[in-house]
């Protein structure tokens, strides 16, 4: 079974430029997540999609970050304009379905995109 795919793997941009990341989840996984991981910290959730609808984007800096998941499969995360503090690894994860009731489902992560803003 193919895992979560992400591209690019690395990106270097100057501040105030824009950048986009792409994610293809595991086939059949309804829920897709974008995380930001700053060096030395655990992943921080940015946005969660259930199929092509947003479930939670409360921690997404909406003045500069945007995300979409067209047709409930692939997703893109965009930053415009980038700031120095956006330097981090951006991780995409997917799961069969968001947990409900007493059942939960583990998340499977892609390799991440390392963004450096200079």
């Amino acid at each position: 079974e193919a895992g979560v795919a992400q591209s690019p793997r690395y990106k270097i941009i100057e501040k105030r430029q824009s950048v986009a990341f792409w994610c293809n989840p595991i086939s059949g996984h309804a829920t897709l997540y974008w995380y930001q991981q700053i060096l030395g910290q655990g992943p921080k959730l940015l946005i969660q999609f259930q199929n092509n609808g947003v479930v939670d984007d409360s921690q997404l800096p909406k003045d500069r970050f945007s995300a979409e998941r067209l047709k409930g499969v692939d997703s893109t995360l965009k930053i415009q304009p980038a700031k120095l503090e956006d330097s981090a690894v951006y991780l995409c994860a997917s799961s069969l379905v968001a947990g409900s009731g007493t059942v939960t489902y583990e998340q499977y992560f892609g390799p991440g995109t390392r963004l450096t803003v200079t």
Partner: protein, 111 residues
């Protein structure tokens, strides 16, 4: 706000020297506690899910246990290939089942 705290931040072991990593959490109505392994330059890799106090799960040299306020990841007779960062996360049932991650424990096993 719910907190997930992992200790120690870093741990250096000799090959074969068993030890434990700790994850303490404050969350109301725990739905699930997850352990992940993360190698440098890679995304986290799922290890275990624990749902209720008293539950234990094992995989090779790793055993995860859960109490009402903390979880332990026991590593028995570790090998150099067990070197990685181990992340703990809890699922928050009152906030869209969001995963809250700790900062991780960076484990180094010397041959």
């Amino acid at each position: 706000e719910d907190q997930v705290t992992q200790s120690p931040e870093a741990l250096r072991l000799q090959e074969g020297e068993s030890s434990s990593l700790n994850c303490s959490y404050t969350v109301s109505g725990l739905r699930g506690l997850f352990w992940y392994r993360q190698d440098p330059g890679k995304g986290p890799e799922f290890l275990f899910t624990l749902y209720s106090a008293g539950e234990e799960k094992e995989k090779e040299r790793l055993k995860a246990t859960l109490t009402k306020k903390e979880s332990f990841l026991h590593i028995t007779a570790p090998k150099p290939e067990d070197s990685a960062t181990y992340l703990c996360a809890v699922q928050d049932p009152y906030n869209n089942n969001d995963m809250r991650f700790g900062a991780g424990t960076r484990l180094t096993v010397k041959p």
